[in-house]
Subunit: 285 residues, 3 copies
Amino acid sequence: MTFLTDFKPTHLTLTEESPTFWRVTFNNPPINVIGLEMMRDLKAILTELEHNDTVNVVVFDSADPDFYIAHYDVMVDNDEAEALPKTDATANYTAWVDITVRMSKLNAVTIAAIRGITRGAGSELVLAMDMRFASLEKTKLAQVEIALNAVTGGGASGRLPSLAGRGRTMEILLGAEDFDGALAEKYGYVNRAIPDADFDDFVTHFARRVSGWEHQAIVEVKEFINKYTRLPDAEYPLHSDAYWAAVMNPAVGATVGRLLEGGMQQRGPLEYNLAEDIAVIAQDR
Amino acid sequence: MTFLTDFKPTHLTLTEESPTFWRVTFNNPPINVIGLEMMRDLKAILTELEHNDTVNVVVFDSADPDFYIAHYDVMVDNDEAEALPKTDATANYTAWVDITVRMSKLNAVTIAAIRGITRGAGSELVLAMDMRFASLEKTKLAQVEIALNAVTGGGASGRLPSLAGRGRTMEILLGAEDFDGALAEKYGYVNRAIPDADFDDFVTHFARRVSGWEHQAIVEVKEFINKYTRLPDAEYPLHSDAYWAAVMNPAVGATVGRLLEGGMQQRGPLEYNLAEDIAVIAQDR
Amino acid sequence: MTFLTDFKPTHLTLTEESPTFWRVTFNNPPINVIGLEMMRDLKAILTELEHNDTVNVVVFDSADPDFYIAHYDVMVDNDEAEALPKTDATANYTAWVDITVRMSKLNAVTIAAIRGITRGAGSELVLAMDMRFASLEKTKLAQVEIALNAVTGGGASGRLPSLAGRGRTMEILLGAEDFDGALAEKYGYVNRAIPDADFDDFVTHFARRVSGWEHQAIVEVKEFINKYTRLPDAEYPLHSDAYWAAVMNPAVGATVGRLLEGGMQQRGPLEYNLAEDIAVIAQDR
């Protein structure tokens, strides 16, 4: 791999399985939150892929068997996040919208290989990819933003309807409950849930197959599907604006404070059970 | 509860589980048809909810374990129905379109807790709600309007595609067959089918959870989902016009006459097996 | 049946189960490819149905239990295919787009009764029908066009999203793998997969039921569903243009040559396992 820019990722690893098949492995202990460095690393990969006409497929997996991506890092300094590079087209978007919108428009096929907990921005990141495979036994997907009095800020309400339909999107976003692999498959939240013992082989086999097609054919297939299933980019900043307007409220700050005291962002019971615990703490008014 | 207007419902009950959680229980023996009084009661509740910024969630269930809502009352006097109050925005809609369109736009989360038979306008009412949970063993959903030579008049053809997709919508509306809980879940016609023994607890637990969120966050989440998944209101009167044009035909009157002779609107075999019997009677030309 | 034009089909049979229920049975040994004669026969049936206000439902099944429709006949002479009759509205479309667009707009309800292998243009033909039932044990559906460096030329990328959603459409078209009945049902690729022993009875029972409704009611129901779920016709020539531009490349011709040497279009292992074999041959560059 020759990179356009100096690329020394620290919170994920990039493995070149072949010239046409890349693997990105999230690795930000203790629980894979999306923080400043992981966003920087992701943006560097997005930039590379936007200028690459060789890579056919990218699998995104996790170095942590329990946490795919826990959620957004609540300690991120917003000014630092917004100072990370953007494209001309996304210059007015927040850092997180820049990432999710660009992820949803790559020429390469993007595959989420979900094993472990994937909530909030983690769920939004996989929704921005082309397809999602999940470990049947080890997946927990959730959008818990409503517990912070907020809409989802990275596009879940714009992307779930084309996967799960209107009624189930309502349930996912308004219930803020965990979806295990079987239920996520039933709802279309993921393509399929695969028994964990077969999971790695299944994803690698699929990705390798896709990696062997003509690059230009992949680009054209994705163009047509995107034409019929993607919302206009301009919708996504609206979500982000609504999200940030809500969470800047002091009441949300107080909830986050209590979550941090309770063990948020640490490897422990609260993060394993966040969908339950966040409701208890948020609703204890 | 303080109501804007005098509210003494006779064909449903309203229970305030908490200030943020209402339960509406349909109760119009012998089989819960949607008649004049139930429409009057429903409209009163819609009006209250349209002026209420406290209630987060409303569960709609039935006092009758066998019949959720059988169907529209074929004996309703249309002039009386149309004289029931409407909003400025829906003043030109029929009584039933007024109800279903307003139901689909409330700030509160609307949950259909479906146990029992739910056909015709009953199915359309639950399709106008935000989400649908069904008793696995005790649900029969159907749109039988085609047996009356008609399209569905309250929006099923506009709402099912975003839940069940094109092909399954075709099957539901053109086949006019009963869908049990398992098949309705498979098709996305309902969110989930829950074993009947767990059904009440499941729905109440979910609604209670939703009732605890910030009201404003619920409103905003629903706004985004509605933006991406609702048809324009103006579509729905078209369905109603086509429905009424069809059923005013004397041949349909004759079919309804034979259905009434056979036991329609009574608690008996014909209503339990309506999806089958209506085809036999309608096709016996 | 009185036909507008002389109609002597040679590669399918038309059975009049009743005046309102037709059955079309594909029969082009050895493996039911879509060749010149089958297109001619299909177009004749489409023309009849476009001028018919009696037929309510048409079931499309296969005389071959192993092959529903294998795929497009790679030996078809394009000039001969394009010389087959078209309608005024589709005069500028290719022969295959003419067929699939017209199929998707008939007044009669079109039902694919899928038993056996159904790949490429076979899959596109059933996607253009109103609904699809599949034998649980004997179905293999696939869109393998990407192995020919091409997008699907007959509209799969425009029709799958409303059935299977964005993520699963990506997987079907980019993976080019076989979908058995159970997985096709899970994804919405078919309405339902029925155990093979019950399959014929199920389809015939459903079609007979639909055949008994008023024709005009069927027309109106389909109009509303089509309004909300069909793309504009003008999208489909774009797919075809992209397809033909891709497959005219000599590299694709070489792949097809090797496939023909390996047994393509013959009743043998390569056609049974085409989704696997085509990848091996196409990717052996």
